[in-house]
Symmetry: C2
Subunit: 144 residues, 2 copies
C-alpha cells in the first residue's frame, strides 16, 4: 500500500502526466483498467481510461474512466456517490493495461447494484447463474 | 467451482458457441479477458478473445486468446508449457468482458517470467518498482 496518503494519491501527479507511462496508442487511445477490491481481491469491474481519465485519477486519487457509451469522461460514483478510492496502481509488462486496487465506497461497483460487474457465472450445464451480492437498488440510486 | 470436471470444462461447449453469450462486436471482434489465480485471487494478466478463442477455451478447458501482436490464435502455454486450466468463468453485466479463474501451470503467466504481468507498481514518489515473484528465466523457456 505504498501509494496511500490518507485516502488519496494526489501527490502522484508529479511527473506522471500524459502517456509517459502508458501506451495509449495501442487501442485507439484507451487503456483497459481492471478494478479489484484492495482488501478482498474480488474483481469489481473492467473499464477504460484515456489520457485525461488517467491524469484525473492520479490527480484526485479517485477512479476516472472514459465512458465508451456516453463518449465522455466518467468520474466513477459521480452520480451514485459510489466512488473508488485508489489504494494501489499496477501497470502490466507491455504498459497497455492497468490494475487498480480500490476501496469501493458504498460496497457496489456495478450499475445494477451488484458488488461486482462480474456477477454472471457460466455453469457446467451451459446456463448462466447470478452470483454475488446485490448491494443497492438502482432505481433508488439513479432514480430510473 | 461449479465448472470443474476434473481439470476441464470441455462439456461446456454444448450450446455456448459463437457470440450467443458475448458481445464481440463492441470492440472490433475482441472481448477482454481478466485472468485471475483461482486460489489466491492474484491478477495474472489481461488478454483478448475473439470468437474462435472463446470457443476453443470452452472446448478444451484451457485458455486460448487472440494475439493482437502476432494476429493469430494463441493457446496460452503452447510454447512454454505454462497453460491455464479454466476453473471458473464469469461474464460481466454488459456481456463485453470476461473473468477467468485459472490454475496457472508452472506458476507464471508473464512472458518475462514473473508470476503476474502486473508486476510494476506505481509508487508514491512517482517511480515504478518491480514487485512480485520471478518464477522462470525466459531465456531458458523460450530460448531467446
Amino acid at each position: 500500500m505504498a501509494l496511500t496518503k490518507g485516502n488519496s494519491i494526489a501527490y502522484l501527479k508529479k511527473g506522471l502526466r500524459g502517456n509517459k507511462m502508458l501506451d495509449f496508442e495501442k487501442s485507439d487511445g484507451l487503456v483497459p483498467a481492471i478494478v479489484q477490491d484492495y482488501k478482498t481481491g474480488e474483481i469489481l469491474m473492467l473499464a477504460y481510461m484515456n489520457e485525461e481519465a488517467w491524469n484525473r485519477t492520479l490527480e484526485t486519487g479517485e477512479a476516472h474512466y472514459w465512458s465508451r457509451s456516453r463518449e465522455q469522461l466518467w468520474h466513477k460514483g459521480g452520480t451514485s456517490g459510489h466512488i473508488q478510492k485508489i489504494k494501489e496502481i499496477r501497470i502490466d509488462c507491455d504498459n497497455d493495461a492497468i490494475l487498480l486496487k480500490v476501496e469501493q465506497v458504498g460496497g457496489a461497483a456495478c450499475h445494477t447494484g451488484y458488488r461486482s460487474c462480474f456477477h454472471k457465472r457460466l455453469e457446467g450445464d451451459g446456463n448462466v447463474s447470478i452470483c454475488g451480492e446485490k448491494i443497492f437498488d438502482p432505481k433508488k440510486v439513479y432514480g430510473k
